[in-house]
Amino acid sequence: MLRLGRHEFGDDEALMMAIVNRTPDSFFDKGATWAEDAAFERVRLVASQGAEIVDIGGIKAAPGAEIDAAEEKSRVVDFVARVREEFPTLVISVDTWRAEVGDAVCAAGADLINDAWGGADPELVDVAAAHGAAIVCTHTGGVTPRTRPYRIEYDDVVRSAVDDTVAYAQRALDAGVAKESIVIDPAHDFGKNTFHSLEITRRLGEMVATGWPVLVSLSNKDFVGETLDLPVGERLLGTLAATSVCAMAGARIYRVHQVTETRQTVDMVWTIAGRRRPARAIRGLQ
């Protein structure tokens, strides 16, 4: 069983986490949902497309203008409350590394803290525990939040990802976060070059084998773009191919821009893997 705040899911379910940016400068949508109403429309859309989770972020991952905690909170806290009010069945995740922001959004109704920066703020696990929220434990190779990887190498990137995320998960457990509310994420492209992200994808089964539910965030990222030599905006097919590989390995949560396309891809692979029934099969069985 997977428990994300107020919501529970079976171990055979694959979940769509739709990205909702309350930022003026994120790489994919370039501020399309910066305005609160536009972001809310995005929540409506992805909910109608069947996303189980929305991941609301107030700061883009890449380097840029300094956004302090007060500004980050002003972008996400009231928005979380509004989404909580209108979509009681939706899991609300907030993409933040700051404990102060995590505390405020959980008070406003968030179910899940998606710490994309690998536990940079040690008090984040305490916040999750205090609110009964779930947490995503990512691997970044120890980089500072909002920095790009530069000449980072690993003896074994998958070993590093497994060791660091499992250690982070243990830290969350020790802080009092429920066992069924801890998710690990190898964090493609975070502290990794394209070769690292490809290897993480190829060997994702080793992360799944830890027993912790695995989240993958592949959507339109640079490792897809560099692999296919395609700009942002033309990376959907490459994203879906990587998604298929991760789904076959058993990744449970998919952080995505394109919900419908990813859902179909994961449903198809999940069914090939024997974890889901066909929707409606009669051919040759009449």
Binding site: R277, P278, A279, R280, A281, I282, G284, L285, Q286
Partner: protein, 168 residues
């Protein structure tokens, strides 16, 4: 022997071929009700695939086929699979007439007509009637209790029917 039922050998009824959205939900309901109505000690008359369907249906209602006692019979068979252009065996214009005769003989019931079915034609029409012909004699002293299903949703003609010896 007091009770006899017929179900089709539709493989979509098997649990290993289950879908999220059951394409044969009405057929399945009718089959399960008929099989439950047979009670325990059910002897199955079917080919190898049909026997699997029968065993799955019996298991679903909490029983299993028997070979010794013969309290009730479950026959597995169906009409033509060549009833339309989209049918498994494509359209054979003879299928409709064949199925009409078969359907009438089943629902009446008319054991002589069932025993005399043209099995060569049945084979050409992809109709699974071997068990029906074999069991025709069972329908000699019974009357039809109900025809619970009579349709061809996917180009194959199915019947779910129940018969019983009239109470004195």
């Amino acid at each position: 022997m007091t009770r006899v039922a017929l179900v089709p050998g539709c493989l979509a009824l098997l649990p290993e071929y289950a879908s999220i959205d059951d394409p044969v939900d009405e057929l399945r309901s009718a089959c399960l009700a008929a099989v439950a109505w047979l009670g325990e000690d059910v002897r199955v008359i079917a080919g190898a695939q049909g026997a699997r369907v029968a065993a799955a249906l019996l298991a679903e209602v909490g029983t299993a086929p028997v070979t010794s006692r013969e309290a009730a019979y479950l026959i597995v068979g169906n009409g033509s699979a060549r009833r339309s252009e989209k049918a498994p065996g494509h359209l054979d214009p003879r299928a409709a007439e064949f199925d009409d005769l078969l359907g009438k003989a089943l629902t009446t019931p008319d054991p002589e007509a069932l025993g005399a079915l043209d099995q060569d034609l049945a084979a050409e029409l992809w109709a699974d009637v071997r068990a029906i012909v074999e069991a025709a004699g069972l329908l000699r002293d019974v009357e039809t209790v109900a025809v619970d299903y009579d349709d061809d949703p996917y180009g194959v003609r199915y019947w779910v029917a129940r018969w019983a010896v009239p109470s004195a």
